[in-house]
């Protein structure tokens, strides 16, 4: 490691979003030629720091220095100008352009008119540096594998001559062999003298690639530690100790009759068939990293993903998994992870949003009953603490947290018996978060079976009665809440996939 000024030095940076403190007096440093792993649970502040360094977010206070000189990262172009580059995930390349064309995208110095041959020559040089020397630069990106696209992303950053590279979970969608390839390139870039920040959830990668580790917890940073001084247990211990800023509701007695039975289910995202049983009055939590397949059973049971094999029964009756509407007919409610995109009908009233899945329940021979619809909407609104007086307002006029409550709450009206929720509190402030947990628990007490798929292990551990972990499309463990400790759960989620994972 070379002596001299630090590549990146962050001192006392804070960032608040309304009532939420994303970064609280954070320090961070990066030496030239080093790979620094950035670890922490969801919401610990990792991505906010990445955004600060890439110029997307202005910190409220604190200083950032690059190569010893204090800088103001007011925009992403300023950040790029200082040699900082974020390696986006593979899907940010344009599939219908060639590799060579993708490499010049977004480059300030790109010529207005270019010749294919000149671009290809330039591209070949950069491809060689990321281990893709064998590829023709005139290949369309759409023909590449996921790992190759990820490497093209890296080449794109190199073509801008970036000295400081930020990798944000670059291997989420890759197989083992592909990961090894990406990690190899990361190491060789560091040996070239570039400085690298590597954000990940996967501990094996940390030990394979990082020189030092900085751990974030609740928006605060811990001092960097050399990877050689750490082991898995030490890292998990450092990452935990998250403040219990969210009060989880108490668990209640679970009745014994199984309501939802999933037998040998295999669908998109699952490599091995999974079997699950959820009792009435119980919350089952499924967790894993991005791309681990934790959400796959939920989507398949809902009838949103094609199913290869397996059966699902609700109260003993087999459910057709062909369409979303047949699931709704069997009382299976499903709330997707991206509610802004596919959970809310913006422009329509709250009442129309709440009644949307249950039109059959509020109509007779195809004609809607306004009184029945209103009653159903009021019922759902009361249950999820949505202002009943505003049922006639456009749902888009509500705050984000309240929109989430509408998206979730509409499933509690009508004839739901099983509620499937992906990422129930993503993008929700702390107040609404506690309320959503509370409502989910209440629904359980009314006899529903609830399945929560979430990448937030703290949430799954705090809320659920039983917890299953997923890795690489396989259910790796399924135990009662009392048989887990949070540390064990985090270790299972982060470390499974490595040989002999505990």
């Amino acid at each position: 490691m070379t002596e001299g000024p630090l590549s990146v030095e962050v001192r006392g940076v804070s960032k608040r979003y309304g009532a939420v403190t994303a970064l609280d007096d954070v320090d961070f440093e990066l030496r030239p030629g080093e790979v620094m792993a950035l670890l922490g649970q969801n919401g610990a502040g990792k991505s906010t720091l990445v955004k600060v360094l890439s110029g997307l977010v202005a910190p409220d206070s604190g200083t950032v220095s690059i190569a010893g000189a204090p800088v103001a990262l007011r925009s992403s172009s300023r950040s790029q100008g200082l040699g900082i580059a974020v390696v986006q995930q593979e899907y940010s390349s344009v599939p219908n352009l060639t590799i060579a064309e993708n490499l010049v995208l977004g480059q300030a110095s790109a010529p207005a008119v270019w010749s294919k041959r000149r671009l290809a020559t330039q591209a070949r040089e950069h491809l060689g540096r990321v281990g893709l020397a064998g590829l023709d630069p005139l290949t369309f990106v759409s023909e590449l594998s996921v790992a190759e696209r990820q490497l093209v992303e890296i080449a794109r950053v190199l073509s801008r001559d970036a000295r400081i590279l930020l990798f944000d979970e670059p291997t989420a969608a890759l197989s083992d062999a592909e990961i090894a390839r990406v990690l190899g390139v990361v190491r060789s870039l560091a040996e070239d003298g570039r400085s690298i920040i590597y954000v990940t959830h996967r501990l094996p990668e940390v030990f394979a690639v990082a020189d030092r580790v900085t751990i974030f917890r609740d928006g605060r940073s811990l001092a960097p530690v050399a990877t050689s001084e750490l082991d898995v247990d030490a890292i998990v211990t450092l990452m935990l100790g998250r403040k219990l800023d969210v009060l989880f509701p108490e668990r209640s007695e679970t009745s014994s009759d199984p309501l939802l039975v999933v037998d040998q289910l295999k669908s998109a995202g699952l490599s091995t068939p999974a079997s699950l049983v959820v009792r009435s009055g119980e919350i089952l939590g499924l967790t894993g990293q991005m791309g681990s397949g934790a959400g796959a059973p939920v989507r398949a049971i809902a009838g949103c993903d094609p199913v290869e094999t397996g059966t699902v029964t609700v109260a003993g009756e087999q459910v057709s998994l062909a369409h979303r509407s047949s699931g709704i007919g069997s009382g299976i409610a499903y709330c997707s992870s991206d509610r802004q995109l596919d959970g809310i009908f913006a422009g329509l009233t709250i009442q129309k949003n709440l009644s949307s899945p249950w039109l059959g329940d509020v109509s007779r021979r195809g004609v809607l009953s306004p009184t029945a619809e209103r009653r159903l909407a009021q019922d759902a609104a009361t249950r999820f603490a949505i202002d009943v007086k505003r049922l006639g307002s456009d749902v888009a006029t509500l705050s984000g947290g309240n929109q989430q409550k509408v998206a979730l709450g509409r499933w509690t009206a009508g004839s739901a018996r099983v509620l499937l929720v992906e990422e129930p509190t993503r993008g929700v402030d702390v107040g609404a978060r506690a309320e959503i947990y509370h409502r989910l628990r209440l629904l359980c007490e009314q006899g529903l079976a609830v399945v929560v798929a979430s990448s937030d292990t703290a949430e799954v551990f705090g809320l659920c009665d039983r917890i299953g972990t997923f890795s690489r499309g396989e259910l790796t463990a399924l135990r009662d809440h009392d048989e887990w400790t949070e540390a064990e759960l985090v270790r299972q989620v982060m470390h499974s996939g490595a040989a002999g994972a505990a």
């Binding site: 979003y17 309304g18 009532a19 939420v20 809902a302 949103c304 369409h323 979303r324 509407s325 699931g327 709704i328 007919g329 499903y334 997707s336 995109l341 596919d342 959970g343 809310i344 009908f345 913006a346 422009g347 329509l348 129309k352 949307s356 899945p357 039109l359 059959g360 109509s363 195809g366 004609v367 809607l368 603490a385 949505i386 202002d387 007086k389 505003r390 307002s393 006029t397 705050s399 984000g400 947290g401 309240n402 509409r410 402030d429 107040g431 609404a432 309320e435």
Partner: protein, 335 residues
């Protein structure tokens, strides 16, 4: 990040909320495109026209305005479901109306009972709509699908009829074409009935609500169990049936059908839907609005006719009106 009103102090928020509601209601009333505005504009244009053009409000002229708006109006009202569902427009209304007019005239001309001819014609045009709906449900672009379907239908009709006029040649048609119970022409009554029917289907039935949900957010609609493919088939069947009915109305009124008919129908219909204020993106609007749009356009056309404005100028004004309304209503809604 955003304030959560339901979590706020209850006593403090009551007054605030009342003020909020009043403010919301006021801004909803003033927002361009609020429901009361179109009827008011229609009345204001009528009064203004009467002031500059004597005879504008004469019973005969009002009747003429309503008659000219009925053919466009029937199609516009049935087109609204397509627009509401987020499938933009059907571009095959001209040819479908022509098919309806030709088939109906031929059936009646060859001594088929009028009621039977009516039902057969409507069934055939509805079928063309179902086919287009199925193609759109499979995933093809609705604009291209209906444009192509229009070409196919128009080509078939022209080929079979050899571009000759087909006479209905039957006196029993008179009730459809020329009856005026209480002084109201039959076509206007049909326009009114179709408007009432489509408005009821749109706002009071499950399929109507499913249409609205599909248009507001088709991904969310799929997750809420809305059969979006069925919706596509139904809305295209609706517009085809409406177009065919418009063809029957025209053939009955004139006593013949000709391939020269309906030359500007598709544009007139789209203009009526847009001027009525139904959102191009879907999810907002109503058939009743489109009926108002058709009447307003017909009213302005009548004013220009009475003042000897050339046909080119009339087209220009209609185009400008559509542009102005889109600028006023639709651009505000794009997210």
């Amino acid at each position: 990040m955003s304030a959560d009103t339901s979590l706020a102090e209850p006593s403090a928020r009551a007054g605030q909320e009342k003020a909020d509601r009043t403010a919301r209601r006021r801004s909803a009333l003033l927002r361009p495109g609020a429901p009361w505005q179109l009827p008011v504009v229609i009345v204001l244009v009528a009064i203004g026209s009467a002031l500059v053009t004597p005879g504008f409000l004469a019973a005969d002229n009002i009747r003429a305005i309503l008659i000219t708006s009925s053919v466009t109006g029937v199609v516009a009202v049935s087109m609204t479901a397509v627009t509401l569902s987020g499938h933009f427009f059907s571009l095959s209304t001209e040819q479908t109306a022509l098919l309806g007019a030709m088939l109906f005239a031929w059936l009646v001309g060859s001594d088929t009972p009028v009621l039977l001819a009516l039902l057969v014609t409507l069934a055939v045009v509805a079928l063309t709509g179902v086919v287009q709906g199925v193609v759109v449900a499979i995933g093809l672009n609705p604009i291209i699908t209906t444009l192509a379907a229009g070409s196919v239908i128009g080509g078939l009709v022209a080929g079979i009829s050899h571009n000759e006029n087909i006479m209905t040649g039957d006196a029993s048609l008179s009730w459809l074409g020329t009856a005026q119970p209480l002084g109201i022409p039959a076509v206007v009554i049909i326009f009114a009935l179709v408007t009432i029917l489509c408005t009821f289907v749109s706002s009071g039935t499950v399929i109507g609500r499913q249409t609205l949900l599909t248009g507001a957010n088709s991904k969310a609609a799929v997750l809420a169990g809305v059969p979006v493919k069925v919706v596509a088939v139904v809305v295209f069947a609706m517009v085809a049936t409406g177009s065919g009915l418009a063809g029957i109305m025209t053939a009955s009124t004139l006593g013949y059908a000709s391939t020269a008919m309906f030359a500007t129908l598709t544009f007139d219909v789209i203009a009526a839907v847009l001027v009525g204020g139904t959102s191009i993106q879907g999810g907002s609007g109503s058939p009743l609005r489109s009926a108002g749009g058709a009447i307003l356009i017909s009213e302005i056309n009548s004013l220009m006719l009475l003042n000897n404005v050339t046909s080119g100028m009339r087209m220009l004004v209609q185009g400008a009106l559509v542009l102005a309304v889109i600028a006023l209503l639709h651009t505000r809604r794009t997210r």
